[in-house]
């Protein structure tokens, strides 16, 4: 949300072309655990009931948010799960704002451990449910392949299976991860992603077993929510250091719901350290900021909101990644950004249309003609 009053969306631009809008972080949820079980093999049901009956592990162990995650008007009748009814999502988001394409990001992984047979079965269930109940029902929607994150090579077959449906356009990984993402245990996932030609989207909400910040557990929801991006510098540094981009030069990572500005000091610090610590990074052949600018993307919710909007343009200018920023609404969460309120009017013209659609079209290889 921007605090200033933004312009209404320009549905008709000079020349008659409509501003296309692609929502890159649209949360879809199953109605209930019972709903998910329809997609699980019967032998998994009992174990699933036991495990998923517990709260989402990371939030239960540490900073359990003291408030609801959802926009009040997104609850279905009888406190039904927000984001679980395609018709409501169409009505409240896709139709209402004229969203051309939306990429589903299925956040809830039901407290299931991030590895093992049940984890793989749940990941597959979430992927089948997306295809069956969302992608086949609304041609504007695209899917994100959920994987059993800590399982490494065991995920490759599910990635290949799900990716055979071209409406799945990325992999979806929750951070923080158990190890920084450059760790070799994750490389089989990257190889499968590269094989399928898909980017990987990272999103907060995972549980690594470690406190949510490098200085321990935050106390309040306020801190929890500001610290959503704190895993990202770690993942970026680790991926760059690991050399995975040398091995898989096409690999792309989307950093969702983590703001943007932190990348600027991070790139400067990495480049300074790269120059001063050659003995530590003999395998890196180019400046880390080059790799960062080439391999990482951002979604806009939440975008920084300086009280002076021109400082947002300063931030974009220093970042130098105008081709890698993509609009996201984060529907149905409480901090939802409506397309007509997501960006201040100071972001206009070509940059605005790139953020709303052009950049996503380029990353996901969508053709711009609807």
């Amino acid at each position: 949300m921007t605090t200033e009053t933004a312009e209404r969306p320009k549905t008709d631009r000079p020349g008659g072309t409509r501003l296309r809008q692609i929502d890159c972080d649209l949360h879809a949820y199953m109605r209930s655990r019972e709903h998910l079980k329809q997609y699980l093999p019967a032998k998994q049901h009992r174990y699933f009931d036991q495990v998923a009956g517990r709260e989402q592990l990371g939030l239960a162990v540490g900073a359990r948010p003291s408030r609801s995650f959802y926009r009040e008007d997104t609850f279905l009748p009888n406190d039904g799960q927000p984001g679980s009814d395609l018709r409501v999502t169409q009505e409240q988001l896709l139709d209402r704002y004229g969203i051309d394409r939306g990429i589903l990001t299925p956040l809830d992984q039901y407290g299931v451990p991030a590895s093992g047979e049940l984890s793989r079965a749940v990941a597959r269930a979430i992927n089948e449910w997306q295809a069956e109940e969302w992608l086949s029902q609304d041609e504007r929607l695209y899917g994100s392949i959920v994987v059993s994150l800590e399982d490494g090579h065991a995920t490759a077959s599910e990635i290949a299976r799900a990716a055979s449906n071209p409406r799945f356009v990325q992999l979806f990984l929750l951070v923080p991860t158990a190890d920084p993402l450059g760790h070799p245990r994750y490389w089989p996932i990257y190889e499968a992603a590269a094989e399928a030609g898909l980017p990987l989207a990272l999103h907060p909400g995972g549980f690594s077993g470690m406190p949510l910040t490098g200085a321990g557990w935050p106390t309040y929801f306020f801190e929890y929510h500001v610290s959503l991006p704190f895993a990202y510098p770690v993942e970026v540094v680790s991926l760059i250091y690991s050399g995975v981009f040398d091995r898989l030069p096409e690999l792309q990572f989307v950093l969702q719901e983590g703001a943007i500005s932190w990348m600027i000091p991070l790139m400067a610090r990495m480049d300074r350290a790269y120059a001063a610590m050659k003995e530590d990074v003999p395998h890196l052949k180019e400046a880390p900021s080059e790799l960062a600018r080439r391999h990482f993307w951002f979604t806009t919710q939440p975008l920084e909101e300086p009280t002076k909007p021109h400082q947002l343009l300063q931030m974009f200018d220093q970042l130098g990644m105008n081709d890698h920023i993509m609009f996201a609404s984060d529907y149905p969460h409480w901090d939802f950004d409506a397309p007509d309120r997501a960006l201040p009017s100071s972001i206009s013209g070509e940059l605005r249309s790139k953020i709303f659609a052009g950049n996503a079209e380029s990353l996901y290889k969508f053709t711009s003609a609807q």
Binding site: F222, V236, S238, Y241, W262, M277, Q318
Partner: protein
């Protein structure tokens, strides 16, 4: 800095190094002297972990950090300097042993630096894992008014807004001392929410989130509302992540106010009133335009205090930053912010020159 400046200069981040265990044993009780001998104590692990001696990044020229070295390299350009000797006491779990070593470091600093050179002030070492002992050591050193703050490592098992630390902050406020959080530390907990990293390069470069967690935690905790005189000094942090953190906190505060009602002002206001940042390193390009924009985004000329991080040197340098500042900003960053934060009055020979 190499250029001469017309205004006085206070260097707020100068490192000295305890040369050996024998340097501090004269200041330990018989019990601990016996202990360090029996365990063949050389150094706590936090020191080499934070500043690996093999890394050129950390100590580019192995400069002389003795009093003579500091007179020669630091006080030649500054009217006063604040020294500290990071000793890794947080990396020793034994609370009384850690606190005894902290007291030893402080007594050594007093005798080798403060007593011999009136232009020096110091950060006292405390072991934050032992709240009561930390308070006791803080009260002890406060008798010497040239201990103007206590030093804490950024690596911590719990962020510093946590109530377990509040008695330390209350004592600091009562004694008129600031709290300093500096790069590094070793507490046995990973420095990232993703666990342990595999290289110094990764640890060093991904450190901003640790500082951010502490600043955010202190603001959210309400300690600044409770102790209106408390000052937090963030040292060696890179600091250019701060505008982004303030923007994010101010936005989130609008919806978080019912949860943290004691945070009565926008979080950035508490930062501007209570938190100060030493200038080096500067995690930015050297572009004057970028540096100028960052200063504008800070929204206050009171946030930065010159700190050389001696013996390290950096690009962008302090000169790059001063070049985009006006005379008032230069005065603030070179001495008056520090003089106000630490209530330091400079020797009369260094009276402020007229601006311009």
């Amino acid at each position: 800095m190499t250029e001469a400046h017309s205004s006085p200069v206070i260097d707020c981040d100068v490192h000295c190094e305890v040369p050996s265990a024998e340097s501090i044993t004269p200041f330990l009780s018989e019990h601990w002297v016996d202990h360090v001998r029996r365990v063949r104590f050389r150094q706590l692990i936090g020191v080499d972990y934070t500043y690996p001696p093999w890394s050129e990044m950390m100590l580019p020229q192995q400069r002389n950090q003795s009093l003579d070295g500091i007179r020669d390299r630091v006080l030649s350009n500054a009217d006063a300097a604040i020294v500290h000797a990071y000793y890794g006491v947080e990396s020793q779990q034994h609370p009384y042993y850690a606190q005894a070593l902290a007291a030893g470091v402080n007594r050594w600093l007093e005798s080798e630096y403060l007593d011999k050179e009136p232009r020096l002030f110091a950060s006292a070492t405390i072991a934050p894992q032992d709240t009561q002992g930390a308070v006791a050591e803080l009260r002890r050193v406060a008798a010497n008014k040239r201990f103007i703050q206590v030093l804490l490592p950024a690596r911590a098992p719990e962020p510093y807004g946590s109530q377990r630390y509040w008695p330390i902050w209350e004592a600091a406020a009562e004694e008129g001392m600031a709290i300093a959080i500096t790069y590094g530390g070793s507490t046995g907990t990973p420095q990232t929410p993703n666990g342990w990293m595999s290289s110094l390069f990764e640890e060093y470069t991904s450190f901003q989130q640790v500082f951010e967690a502490h600043v955010m935690s202190m603001v959210a905790s309400g300690i600044f509302a409770k102790l209106p005189d408390l000052k937090l000094v963030v040292m060696e942090s890179g600091w250019t992540w701060l505008p982004g953190l303030m923007w994010r906190m101010d936005t989130e505060w609008h919806t978080a106010r019912r949860e943290v009602p004691w945070v009565e002002l926008p979080p950035s206001e508490y930062v501007k009133r209570h938190v100060r940042f030493t200038t080096l390193p500067i995690d930015s390009s050297s572009s004057p335009k970028h540096l100028e924009e960052l200063l504008e985004q800070l929204g206050s000329s009171e946030l930065l205090m010159y700190g050389s991080d001696f013996p390290r040197t950096y690009e962008p340098s302090m000169e790059n930053l001063l070049a985009v500042m006006d005379a008032e900003q230069r005065d603030r960053v070179l001495w008056s912010n520090a003089a106000e934060t630490y209530k330091i009055s400079l020797p009369s020979s260094a009276s402020p020159a007229p601006a311009g």
